[in-house]
């Protein structure tokens, strides 16, 4: 099964617009063990991202948020990159994700932090697999929101 399509949140869009950010581009995102980068197994069912890797899924999520706030530009000087450090979920109703995010501008690193979030939901036995599938997008949105809420991150993009 495919990982759910990520959708940018209105709260993040509003936050990014009001922060008055300069345009930014999304650079390379990679993964490092123990993060699951190719697939996540939920009670024996494998969930894979349409982007080919979960690092690319995270990059796509950030791109979508920046695009909706109209601050995504492939020609921008500021670049956001990252490394996925943890990425897993289970059928019991827990997901964890952790990533290192960097903002560079002209060779200078302006932001370098690790962000981690955990997400829990109520899973019933019968719909544990589709529920876990849906909740993955919520897990990623929590991580992205945590990043956008960091004043040092928004300051690095001004």
């Amino acid at each position: 099964m495919l990982a759910p399509t990520y959708t940018a949140s209105l709260e993040n869009t509003d936050r990014l617009i009001r922060a008055g950010l300069a345009p930014a581009r999304v650079g390379a995102f990679s993964a490092q063990a123990p993060a699951r980068n190719d697939s996540i197994s939920v009670r024996g069912k494998t969930m894979t991202p349409a982007q080919g890797s979960y690092a690319a899924y995270l990059a796509d999520a950030i791109s979508q948020e920046l695009q909706l706030a109209r601050v995504l530009s492939p020609a921008a000087d500021s670049e956001i990159s990252g490394v996925l450090l943890k990425n897993d979920m289970d059928a019991a109703g827990t997901g964890v994700i952790e990533a290192r995010f960097l903002v560079r501008n002209g060779g200078r690193v302006l932001f370098d932090k690790i962000k981690a979030v955990e997400h829990r939901w109520q899973a019933s036995y019968l719909d544990a697999i589709p529920r876990a599938q849906q909740e993955y997008a919520v897990l990623v949105r929590k991580l992205v929101t945590d990043l956008f809420n960091d004043p040092e991150f928004t300051a690095a993009l001004k």
Binding site: T13, L68, S124
Partner: protein
């Protein structure tokens, strides 16, 4: 003893089956294209009441089962994305009388969506809906609260059995997508918004 066990198992299955299954009807925003039509030179505010965002609804699925979802939470980003295709600037408003938005952001019109949904399935064995409808109304009002226009559209989404196995929410996502596309056209065509 065996009869008791069988009856207990049946009761458990019925109880579990009676629980509504969670789905998400958020459409793929990448598919919400502007269509190359020039947007209206207006700044609008989008207001979704907090009580609507928190509203969870339950409608029919297949095999006597039900599905549950949050229509406003799932569709609000899509509505915002659609409004970007229609108007020059869109601002998220904290209240319909958000004076900051009117003064600082230059909002002249406020858009408040209303969403009604329904679903059904032609499958007796699978719970995800194969048919979904999203009735979307966008009330467009001025700074005084007077409704300028209020188009209503109905989006429909259908899915086959093999599609709902891959994505339990697919019919709902298609209905949302269809409703947003129709609303985009309705707003662009509304003569009241061209004045």
């Amino acid at each position: 003893m065996n009869v008791f066990r069988i009856l207990s198992a049946c009761a458990c299955a019925l109880l579990l089956g009676a629980c509504a299954r969670q789905i998400v009807i958020t459409p793929d925003l990448a598919k919400l294209e502007g269509g190359g039509v020039a947007s209206l030179k207006k700044t609008v505010g989008l207001y979704v009441p907090p009580e609507d965002k928190a509203r969870q609804v339950t409608t029919a699925g297949g095999g006597g089962d039900k599905v549950s979802y949050f229509p406003y939470r799932d569709l609000e980003t899509g509505v915002y994305r659609m409004l970007i295709n229609v108007f020059e600037k869109v601002v998220v408003m904290k209240s319909p009388t958000d004076s900051d938005a009117f003064r600082r952001d230059g909002v002249t019109l406020v858009v408040t969506p209303t969403i009604a949904t329904d679903s059904s399935s032609d499958s007796l064995l699978r719970w995800p809906p194969t048919s979904f409808s999203v009735r979307l109304t966008c009330a467009v009002s001025d700074a005084a609260g007077k409704v300028v226009t209020q188009p209503t559209v109905e989006g429909v989404g259908k899915a086959t059995l093999s599609e709902i196995i891959a994505d339990v929410s697919v019919a709902g996502k298609r209905a949302s997508q269809d409703a947003l596309g129709k609303m985009q056209r309705a707003l662009l065509d509304a003569p009241e918004l061209r004045r």
